[in-house]
Amino acid sequence: MTTELVTRRPPIFKLGSVVGVVLLIIAAIFALGPLLWTVTTSLRTPAEAFTNPPQWLPLHPDFGNYAAVFQQIPIGQFFVNSTIVTALIVAGQTITCTLSGYAFAMVRFPGKNTIFGIFLATMMVPLQTIIIPVFIIVNKLGLSDSLASLIIPALGSAFGTFLMRQYFMQMPPELGEAARIDGASHFKVFLFVYARMASPAIATLAILNFSGFWAEFYRPLIFLQSQSHFTLPLGLVGLQGNLGTGSISIVLAGVILTMIPSVILFIFAQRYFIEGVTAGSFR
């Protein structure tokens, strides 16, 4: 049946396929072009960085810009700051969201649906709407202008709870019931039966949080004042401000440096990045 159909209209099929490939390649050029330009321009000397035509192949790569980034800004410090903030939020949310997601999926307790409903409702609210009260609370807690001001408010998450709950909902309740009859406590059932099965969801949540908080600009911009506490995106914008348009190749070297951790993680955990995109949709 299928062969008959294919033989009936080969020319259109072929032509459509060729046009499709051409369109995809054009799109790929537009997607990769700006990134490639950033890499190659970061390898040109500051003097020739803004001269056109752009140099698409770094024939005489000059790594001086990368050294210059370290002289211009304490990028090592920014790197450490970003790592501390991101790692602690990832670790914190892994714990709080796994615990709460499991309880909302598997444990019976009064008021469960109401509390979960409130969680869901808060997911719709944009960060901008709550930023002023959060800013005030952070200051009242004596955390202003510190890395803790970024970390502590982000340790719990309604979305993360929702994500983990969805995953635990798919698991068979019989396993836990069997372990309960064998005398395991509720917490042991959670820890030794279900939590270890949840590692794909935990990985997805961790990657989502990494991408989100490693790249975060808005909260650091508002919460941090001293340069020694800056995270990478904020430090990068500061570098651009310091240098103006004079030496863009140094700024671009900074851009590339901040991207390296994400790219490395992407190479090793690509699956969870892709999973993270679809994770939020109601399946």
Binding site: C97, I132, I137, F190, V237, T245
Partner: protein
């Protein structure tokens, strides 16, 4: 389901044992309840203190006038009245809405088009190549993207204008003209975010059942007809989800205009979130800024509601 099993069991047990069991069950339920509260306690504390209470506080603050230094003064709806009468606020919300609609439409169309084309590729390596390629921009922070895009779109020295002029087209005042700046914001945002929509749509298209497509082919439907009459209706729930998420994000556009144009030229790209930032954290008008934030929240809720209403007619659930 477990409730049913319980009743079925109790029916078989003698009355005396049933009472013991019921007491035991009650104790067990209480213990399970306590365990549940303990498990959610951490998340509840953090979400309550840093999300739920701030929502209420924001609503409250919007009714006050507060410059942070002197004590807050209750002003009722005055902030909202001032907001409605302020031309720059209305313009800012208009800018936000235009940018958001532009971003969402372009992102959905481009994401869907690319997903359909990639879905037609037979070889796994070519699928993987294009998927990685279109996802790559998402690995950079919006701050990083705004910085290098700012250079690429530079009117005098930028690469885009260099290529435009070298093929005889006029240079475009990307960031120096109000309309140009808005177009640039849309292009830069879509360039980075399209991979998100694309990945969603590829996943949805892959899950379209093969037999449905074969049935369409047998009925003589060509590629275009299959796409518009079969594939798109089948993935319409995903399209709705992508549209809602993209719209909520686009209404909060901040990093790109803040870094690339500082909201300019003039106030051409001063989005609602930039306006709120200026009011709150530069002019220290916390009450007024909260009012802007509340209006933004309401607009987002209304738009999401409209999207779901429109979806009732357009989305096809299996």
């Amino acid at each position: 389901m477990s409730v049913q099993t319980q009743t079925r069991e109790t029916a078989r047990v003698p009355v005396s044992r049933r009472v013991v069991r019921r007491v035991g069950a009650r104790r067990e339920a209480r213990r399970e309840g306590a365990f549940g509260y303990l498990m959610i306690s951490l998340a509840v504390i953090f979400v309550a203190v840093f999300t739920f209470i701030p929502i209420i506080a924001s609503l409250g603050l919007s009714l006050f006038s507060w410059d942070v230094i002197t004590p807050p003064k209750f002003v009722g709806m005055a902030n909202f009245e001032r907001l409605g009468a302020d031309g720059s606020v209305l313009q800012s919300f208009g800018v936000t809405l235009v940018l958001a609609i532009g971003i969402v439409l372009l992102q959905l169309c481009l994401g869907l088009g690319l997903a359909v084309l990639v879905n037609q590729r037979k070889k796994t390596w070519s699928k993987t190549f294009f998927r990685t390629t279109f996802y790559l921009p998402l690995l950079a922070s919006t701050a990083a993207v705004s910085i290098f895009m700012g250079y690429l779109f530079d009117a005098k020295f930028g690469v885009f204008n260099y290529y435009l002029t070298s093929i005889g087209l006029p240079a475009i005042p990307w960031l120096t003209n109000p309309v140009g700046a808005m177009v640039t914001m849309i292009l830069v945002t879509v360039w980075q975010q399209v991979g998100f929509t694309f990945v969603l749509f590829v996943a949805a298209l892959t899950s379209v059942p093969k037999d449905v497509l074969e049935a369409a082919a047998i009925d003589g439907a060509g590629p275009a007809r299959t796409l518009f009459r079969v594939k798109i209706p089948l993935i319409s729930p995903t399209i709705l989800f992508a549209a809602v998420v993209a719209m909520i994000n686009a209404m909060q556009l901040f990093d790109q205009p803040f870094i690339m144009t500082k909201g300019g030229p003039g106030t051409a790209t001063t989005t609602a979130t930039i306006l709120m930032y200026q009011a709150g954290f530069q002019n220290l008008q916390f009450g007024y800024a909260s009012a802007i934030a509340i209006v933004l929240l309401l607009i987002i809720l209304v738009i999401t509601g409209i999207q779901f209403l429109a979806a009732r007619k357009l989305v096809f659930y299996q």
